[in-house]
């Protein structure tokens, strides 16, 4: 029987955020916004959801006088992402 896909990752924007963060050490809010072409509000909401699930950590700080939000994937997030990809593969029988 096929496993259920993680609903937290099975959304376009959250999956895009996780796919970016899986390959880098960290990425800031502006970079994620540019890459995903999402609105600031929607991106903030999805980042909060991933952060609440402890899939990513969010660090708020300043670069000069400008606020800077930096996101990093956690080990829990990496594991969830790997499991999600494995289940996806089983669905489409890769």
């Amino acid at each position: 029987m096929l496993k259920e896909l993680n609903p937290l990752l099975h959304s376009e924007l959250r999956l895009a955020i996780m796919s970016i963060l899986i390959g880098v050490e960290s990425a800031d809010f502006v970079y994620l916004k540019e890459e995903t072409q999402a609105t600031s509000g929607n991106l903030s909401v999805q980042i909060d959801k991933l952060s609440t699930a402890e899939y990513i950590t969010v660090e708020k700080g300043f670069k000069g006088k400008k606020p800077k939000t930096t996101c990093k994937i956690t080990n829990k997030g990496k594991k969830a992402f790997a499991e999600y990809v494995a289940v996806l593969k089983s669905y489409i029988k890769l």
């Binding site: 376009e12 924007l13 796919s19």
Partner: protein, 197 residues
């Protein structure tokens, strides 16, 4: 992009696209540091060889410092043009690796210039830089740098057989092989990857 559910195939495509996009951004102009230090070293080596053999004045050896005096400011300027807002693991590792090799090479150079404890400075520098290049190639999985790095390590021993300032010409040629050629190949590869992404 929105908060909508995707089909399995769309999900996999999105993951692939996002990972490729991020990777290709880092590959763009990745060869620039090799080109900055490669060309500057070639210019400095030929300039020192030309000036000292023509004038016989060893003070011209101070020309070597143009590598640091010009190289690091230019590197800092090009760093600012890098992908903003994102840090990669690989970039961090490579930066630390070159800090170690750079500091070692700088201290060896200072000793050779001011305390005269080291006779064959160019041999040591090529050996160190060859190691750094081969390691960088292995980390970024770029075979031209791996091959050029190991070739430079092998060629470095040739410098032990050559005496006097003619070593500078071999030194310049090694840097063309070790940094200039792989730097251009890496930039071309980065451009192609970005176009494909």
């Amino acid at each position: 992009m929105e908060d909508k559910n995707l089909s399995e195939k769309e999900s996999l495509e999105l993951i692939t696209r996002m990972i490729k996009n991020t990777q290709s951004k880092f590959e763009m102009n990745a060869g620039v540091p090799f080109l900055i230090f490669g060309y500057l070293t070639v210019i400095a080596a030929v300039a020192v060889w030309f000036a000292v053999t023509r004038t016989g004045n060893p003070q011209w050896n101070f020309l070597w410092f143009i590598i640091i005096a010009i190289g690091y400011p230019v590197k800092m300027i090009t760093n600012r043009k890098k992908v903003k807002g994102v840090k990669s693991f690989v970039d961090g590792v490579i930066t630390k690796l070159w800090i170690v090799f750079g500091v070692a090479a700088f201290l060896v150079s200072l000793d050779a210039m001011f305390f005269y404890n080291i006779d064959n400075i160019l041999f040591i520098i090529v050996l160190l830089m060859g190691m750094g290049t081969a390691l960088t190639g292995m980390i970024i999985r770029f075979s031209p740098s791996i091959i050029a790095g190991f070739a430079s390590i092998a060629i470095s021993f040739l410098l032990l057989q050559v005496e006097g300032y003619d070593q500078c010409l071999i030194f310049a040629a090694v840097f063309v092989l070790m940094m200039v050629i792989p730097g251009h190949i890496l930039n071309c590869k980065g451009k192609k990857d970005v176009e494909r992404a």
